[in-house]
Amino acid sequence: MLKVENLFKQYTSEDGTPGGGVLGASFDVANGELFTLLGPSGCGKTTTLRSIAGLEQPQGGLISLMDTVLYDADKRVNIPMYERDIGMVFQSYAIWPHMNVYENAAYPLKVSKGKRLSSSEMREKVRHVLELVGLEDYIERPSTQLSGGQQQRLALARALTREPGLLLLDEPLSNLDAQLREQMRSELKRLQRETGVTAIYVTHDQSEALAISDRIAVMNDGLIMQIGSPKDIYERPTSEFVANFIGTTNLLRGALNADIKAGNEAPVETPLGKLQCTFTADVSATPTVGVVIRPENIVIAKIGDDKAAALPAINRCDGALLTETYLGEIVEYEVSVGEETVLIRTKPTESLAPQDAVTLHFPIPQTLALIEKST
């Protein structure tokens, strides 16, 4: 549906040194999919989005939407933004203050090329899309009297009135307060499902990305680090960056003696001893392989308990409990093992206290060995 190949756009900072941008991103978005570009600020996600929109002219690569080539550096094709079949929701909403709700939403129908609608058809269409976002009671209201959440809905309605082939959302929830953000998040997802519109969503908020997306592309320094479903990205990161950026994780440095292919298991020498790890990507022998495991995947037990005795002998180490932090639905423990401190999260069912001697088990499928970066 949407195809982006080797997209390249580098900014030059004022002193002439190369700055941020996109340094060769490729991905495909399937019909009806909600695809998220996720990454820290300056990673190139917004540049990618604006290049697809046509608000930014790339320096290299190819962008095509369905059968239309929007941008092709080699053939010097660059369709102007207003001829692209794309709707966009801006971070600041960009609701025009001099138009009321109806006029804002109807604007794309009035100005875009293509078949002219009769005024009753237009009215019907706009009413429909405003109903979709729940603004049907505000049609004649001046847009300056809308709340943040209503402006957000109107921005979405405006982007949808033209029934575009692609919907772009540039950090649409970042201006809302926390509670409203969660509500709008699920509403956005519902609307996208209902209309079946293909959407690209840009955010730096990992929990938002996990909650809303069909697939996520994690970006860093202008490159795509990994593309996958939220579950994939969270559970099977292929690089240290992705593992660190999404959620909380324990990171250990280890040595690997052999070249291992993705999908296999192999032992890695770590400060906690030898750990049997799963490989999500090909890794060559190196003295500095990263070993990551999420805090909730580590099993903790008090030495001498029945639970400790029942743990497998492999991937085990003993340590002393340093702190216990009670967070309600979970408890966080910090355990010192030799020089290292390991973070563990469990349900608050264990009866552990600081100073306790504990034993830890790292289940093999969740103990991942990763290289620092992968593309």
Binding site: L55, Y82, S92, A94, W96, V111, S112, A159, R162, D170
Partner: protein, 579 residues
């Protein structure tokens, strides 16, 4: 200011032996009294003069409505009122068309060379209005290059354009106000979030459609307010009507006032009546303007967090907009300055031609530099500007501080200090003329009289800068001083003054620049010993001493441009809006 002025203990002098007057700080009472003494006599004498016959010694005679009756019964008055209206509307239209174009190109597009436009603002603040108007008369006059070119193109025998007409006045005044219009509009265009335009483009609208539907519409309230502002300024302007209109027999209200006083014997009553009428018209328009300009900001308040000052990529078209930019730059600054320099270098002005190049000489500069009256008028002008600025800057700083910190009754200082705004400069001149004529001691014709009138006239401008400067000082800086044990007076001197100093310097420079630029006040008040540059230039033009005028004007403009440049650098450095 997040916490605007909690209760301020009106300390400053209030704990001194002077007892509070209804809880109003004595300093406020003192300042308000000074302002009243400065402003009230002018108002009273203006109204009195329009309602009394004037005797030979300048004092008032019998009460009469005659001057107002004369106005109403005279056809000429209605005619001149119409002239003034057409002239003001036309000037505003010209100024705003140029301003919108300039502001849009510079602020909203990626046209090259936009930063050069700042030069327009700098020079236009330095050049005396008289000289600017004269430069256009040189360009558009019978022997001017514009007529030469038109004759060459059309093959006509005689000059095609007669600049001494209503349209000539409109063009010249419109161009003169273009920099102001650009300055105000550029801040409007700059503060609009680029995503308003991007959202329109993403809706399928092209560049022109987006400009018309979004950019222009968002700026519309501001443009309307600006239209009124320039209308007022043109309506009350004197230089262009006097230099362009009078020779072409086009009169407006301000020239009527001037002529009533210039005739022998001076008809003070008539001038007074004209002035009162003008005062009411301008006052009414200003009220309307204030309402509109409050309205003008309503679109500028909603911008989200993701504000990006992005500009529109025009692609190849940016070379066209670049060319338009260059042309406008030449029209507003390049050609006027060029012609003044040209005329200053030739022995006599007979159009621009290659032959004249051979005659190039510095004689005019030599004559001017050796002339006693040139030295005198420069000296007078500098003293006049510096004195007015030196009084206005600290005085308004104190008034603004008391107002911003909500001292009890201080709002009246703000009202009084900004009230002279409704006085057109020429009316201010007439009013002070009456005051000085009726003074027991001889102030009339002295430099001090010009200083006093200019000072009152430019109080509102000073107030605006001081106010903006004081607003930037957070209350807590002063509270910290009080908590350190400083008295209010100490706090003002040790904390407020140093912090507000940059604003005061910019305020000083601005008042200096605008007071030496104008001709309306000194033309009515100056005597033989208190000539100022603007008047000298005006007289030289009337007497046909064109080349020396150009040399003197060019030299003076050079100096003023340097001061204007310093003003701009300071204003930018300290984040004060430049208006």
């Amino acid at each position: 200011m997040t916490t605007p002025n909690r209760t301020v203990n009106n300390g400053f002098l209030s704990r001194s032996r002077l007892k509070n007057l209804f809880g109003i700080s004595p300093i406020v009472v003192v300042l308000a009294s000074i302002l009243l003494v400065l402003i009230m006599p002018a108002v009273i004498f203006l109204f009195q003069s329009s309602l009394h016959e004037t005797q030979f010694d300048g004092s008032f005679g019998a009460f009469t409505f005659q001057y107002y009756v004369d106005l109403i019964t005279n056809d000429q008055f209605l005619n001149n009122l119409t002239n003034a209206t057409i002239y003001a509307v036309g000037s505003a239209a010209v100024a705003i068309s140029i301003g919108v174009l300039l502001a849009w190109i510079v602020e909203r597009t990626n046209t090259p060379g936009g930063s050069w436009v700042l030069i327009i603002s700098i020079i236009s603040l330095g050049i005396p209005s008289v000289l600017y108007t004269i430069s256009f008369l040189m360009l558009l006059g019978k022997v001017g290059p514009v007529n030469e070119i038109l004759m060459w193109i059309t093959g006509a025998e005689d000059p095609l354009l007669d600049v001494y007409s209503l349209w000539g006045m409109i063009i010249i005044e419109g161009i003169e106000f273009a920099p102001l219009s650009y300055l105000l509009l550029s801040s409007v265009f700059r503060s609009n979030d680029a995503s308003f335009e991007e959202a329109s483009m993403m809706s399928g609208a092209g560049i022109l459609q987006t400009f018309r539907n979004i950019t222009f519409r968002l700026a519309q309230p501001a443009i309307l307010a600006l239209l009124i502002l320039i209308f007022i300024r043109a309506f009350e302007s004197f230089e262009t009507p006097a230099l362009v209109g009078l020779p072409g027999n086009v009169s407006v209200i301000t020239t009527d006032i001037y002529e009533s006083i210039d005739e022998v014997p001076a008809n003070y009553g008539q001038a007074g009546a004209f002035s009162v009428v003008l005062l009411f018209i301008v006052g009414g328009l200003l009220i309307w303007y204030n309402r509109l300009s409050r309205n003008a900001e309503k679109y500028q308040t909603i911008t989200g967090k993701g504000f990006r000052p992005r500009v529109m990529d025009l692609g190849k078209w940016r070379w066209l907009t670049g060319a338009i930019l260059a042309l406008l730059f030449m029209i507003i600054i390049g050609f006027p300055i060029g012609i003044v320099l040209w005329v200053s270098m030739v022995p006599y002005y007979d159009g621009v031609s290659l032959e004249a190049l051979k005659l190039f000489t510095f004689d005019n500069y030599r004559t001017v530099f050796n002339s006693r009256s040139f030295h005198d008028s420069i000296g007078n002008t500098v003293i006049m500007g510096a004195a007015a600025a030196s009084i206005v800057a600290p005085f308004t700083a104190l008034c603004a501080w008391l107002t911003v910190r909500r001292y009890k009754g201080a709002w009246i200082l703000d009202q009084l200090a900004t009230s002279p705004l409704i006085f057109p400069a020429i009316v201010m001149g007439v009013a002070f003329l009456q005051v000085f004529l009726n003074m027991p001691f001889g102030l009339y014709g002295t430099l001090l009289s010009i200083i006093l009138a200019s000072m009152v006239r430019y109080l509102p401008y000073g107030m605006r800068y001081s106010y903006a400067g004081i607003l930037q000082i957070h209350t807590e800086l002063e509270e910290a001083s009080s908590m350190s044990g400083a008295r209010q007076t100490t706090t003002f001197l040790r904390i407020v003054m140093p912090l507000v100093a940059p604003a005061m310097v910019t305020c000083w420079l601005f008042v200096f620049l605008v007071s030496v630029k104008a001709v309306s006040i000194p033309i009515l008040l100056a005597g033989p010993k208190s000539q100022v540059v603007a008047i000298t230039l005006f007289d030289m033009w009337e007497n046909g001493i064109t080349n020396e005028l150009a040399a003197m004007g060019a030299t003076w403009t050079g100096f003023m441009t340097i001061i204007s440049l310093i003003f701009y650098m300071l204003a930018k450095r300290y984040g004060l809006s430049v208006r």
